[in-house]
């Protein structure tokens, strides 16, 4: 479904001398993997790992410095925005900050309808009502503005918008990290339900390995722009091969672990 081939992306920083070259920052370096249809593919990485860059590249919102992204055999990378219509209707993204990803000046109905308007898909009003119901929001939500909702509800609105054009692939970029624990479980349940119900292929990006473990079947571990480990999520979690993955698994405090006597000193390498 999605193939990343030797993906690299570097950014130029503003030059530090008036005439010298601009220093480069490598955000992603030769990352390759494949996401097959129906897979729940997790990407785990800490800050600076390049996971946000990866999301942008996969969604065709940015172009790689080298390498390629293919969606269902078609090249995504390096294309002009207007040639990506095939991607826009079939792949949708949910972002991290549910407040920041909703235009404060638009009504919920218009927000959800935006992909439909952009892609000239008819039957907007019915579809908006359908997806609102699917994400568990009342029909009356359509006429309200984002600031009138709580964090969890806003993330539902984001999910509704992503579902509106009936995509096959959903990319979720840290969808629950801005949410309270008591709300996080709801949104994770909803996400799982939706993926099942609409047979979506899911790419789930997170800094939290335990969330990825709950949601995904496969996981890729990124560190400093490089893919250090890739495999079945249970395999990676229980028998990490790369030292960094081992460190990552070890560093996550867990309730069970703590009650079993694991101290802070045990979390560090």
């Amino acid at each position: 479904m999605i193939v990343a081939e030797e993906l690299s992306r570097s950014y130029r920083r503003p030059r530090s001398t008036p005439f010298g070259p601009r220093p480069q920052v490598r955000a992603l370096h030769e990352v390759s993997f494949e996401v097959v249809a129906g897979q729940r593919f997790g990407v785990v990485g800490e800050s600076g790992s390049g996971k946000s860059t990866l999301v942008r590249l996969l969604a065709g919102l940015d172009s790689p410095s080298s390498g390629a992204v293919r969606f269902d055999g078609q090249l995504v990378s390096g294309r002009r925005q207007r040639d990506l219509d095939f991607l826009r209707s079939r792949l949708q993204v949910v972002f991290q900050d549910p407040m920041g990803s909703l235009d404060p000046r638009m009504r919920v109905a218009d927000i959800i309808a935006e992909p439909l308007v952009a892609q000239r898909i008819p039957g907007r009003a019915e579809r908006v009502a359908e997806v609102l119901a699917a994400v568990g929001l009342p029909a009356s939500a359509a006429d309200r503005y984002p600031h009138q909702f709580s964090g969890g509800q806003r993330q539902r609105i984001c999910l509704a918008r992503a579902l509106a054009p009936r995509p096959q692939v959903l990319i979720a970029d840290e969808p629950v990290s801005a949410l309270d624990v008591s709300v996080r479980a709801q949104v994770l349940n909803l996400l799982s339900d939706l993926v099942d119900r609409y047979s979506l292929t899911l790419v789930f990006v997170s800094h939290d390995l335990s969330v990825v473990r709950h949601v995904c079947d496969t996981v890729a571990v990124l560190k400093s722009g490089q893919l250090v480990e890739l495999g079945a999520v249970e395999q990676v979690y229980r028998r990490p091969r790369h030292p960094y993955t081992r460190q990552l698994v070890r560093a996550v405090p867990t309730l069970r672990g703590a009650l079993a006597g694991i101290t802070a000193a045990d979390l560090t390498p």
């Binding site: 942008r56 925005q81 826009r88 909703l102 935006e114 984001c158």
Partner: protein, 272 residues
């Protein structure tokens, strides 16, 4: 809230006086009558007459018209030129943003007064040269505010979401950027209007703006400057009018800022 009401009331009062002056003024503001020179305040002349015997209240009303006219055209020109420039600088390629910033720096080095002097030296000073000078000098404020605000909007996740929904850049500018920077531009308009009123008064005071016989607050002040000791009213009346107008627009700007977009508070502060 208080700023909004007070500012709105002051601005409303001036607009009302200006509009009314089209239909009616107590006297012809340009009518010179030696017999009526320097009359004090009475029922016939609410604010007295000046040294040419012209009715001060009538001049003040028509002067409001000049003030608003100059402000409107100047701010209009500045907004219409500056806003698209700023938006373009924010959404276009880097070099374009850099170019706009440099042109801004250049225009900033030519304050309204210098432009008015240069234009006046060539074409002869008039309301027109004053308007153009003030307008051009105000362009950078709008370009800056529009650019800063648009850059902020363009980095938001909702713009990213719109792109991934398949929106084209133009649609994003119209549907997302413009509505979200509009509030700030309205605030900037009000603030710039106040500055334009001040600039117009200064230019007229120097004889570089509106020419006689058209009444203008700045010139009313200049003409009666030396009469301050004898007839302080003649200086105080236009002086207070100018100060209240400027105050009105700046209060209105503050009030609108709080009302329209508390989240963007501070973004436009450096524009002045």
């Amino acid at each position: 809230m208080r700023s909004l009401v007070l500012g709105g009331a002051l601005v409303g009062l001036i607009v009302l006086a200006a509009l009314l002056s089209f239909l009616w003024t107590p006297y012809d503001p340009t009518l010179v009558d030696a017999a009526l020179r320097l009359r004090g305040v009475d029922w016939a002349h609410w604010l007295g007459t000046d040294r040419f015997g012209r009715d001060v209240a009538s001049q003040l009303m028509v002067g409001a018209r000049t003030t608003l006219y100059v402000g409107l055209v100047a701010v209009g020109v500045a907004a219409l030129v500056g806003t698209p420039l700023g938006l373009l600088a924010a959404s276009g390629p880097r070099w374009l943003g850099e170019l706009v910033a440099r042109v801004n720096d250049l225009v900033l080095a030519f304050p309204a007064l210098l432009l008015a002097i240069m234009l006046g030296a060539g074409f002869g000073a008039s309301t027109g040269t004053a308007m153009i000078a003030i307008g051009v000098a105000t362009v950078p404020s709008f370009a800056r505010v529009a650019r800063a605000a648009a850059m902020q909007v363009l980095t938001t996740e909702y713009v990213l979401a719109a792109r991934s929904a398949g929106r084209r850049p133009l649609a994003i500018s119209v549907r997302h950027v413009l509505p979200n920077v509009a509030g700030l531009l309205i605030v900037q308009s009000s603030v710039s209007f106040g500055i334009a009123v001040l600039a117009e008064a200064a230019l007229s005071f120097l004889g570089l703006g509106t020419q006689p016989p058209t009444p203008s607050w700045g010139r009313m002040l200049q003409e009666s400057q030396e009469l301050l000791a004898v007839q302080p009213r003649l200086v105080v009346v236009p002086g207070v009018a100018i100060a209240l107008a400027v105050l009105g627009f700046s209060l209105l700007g503050d009030g609108l800022r709080d009302r329209l977009d508390p989240r963007l508070k501070g973004v436009g502060d450096a524009g002045r």
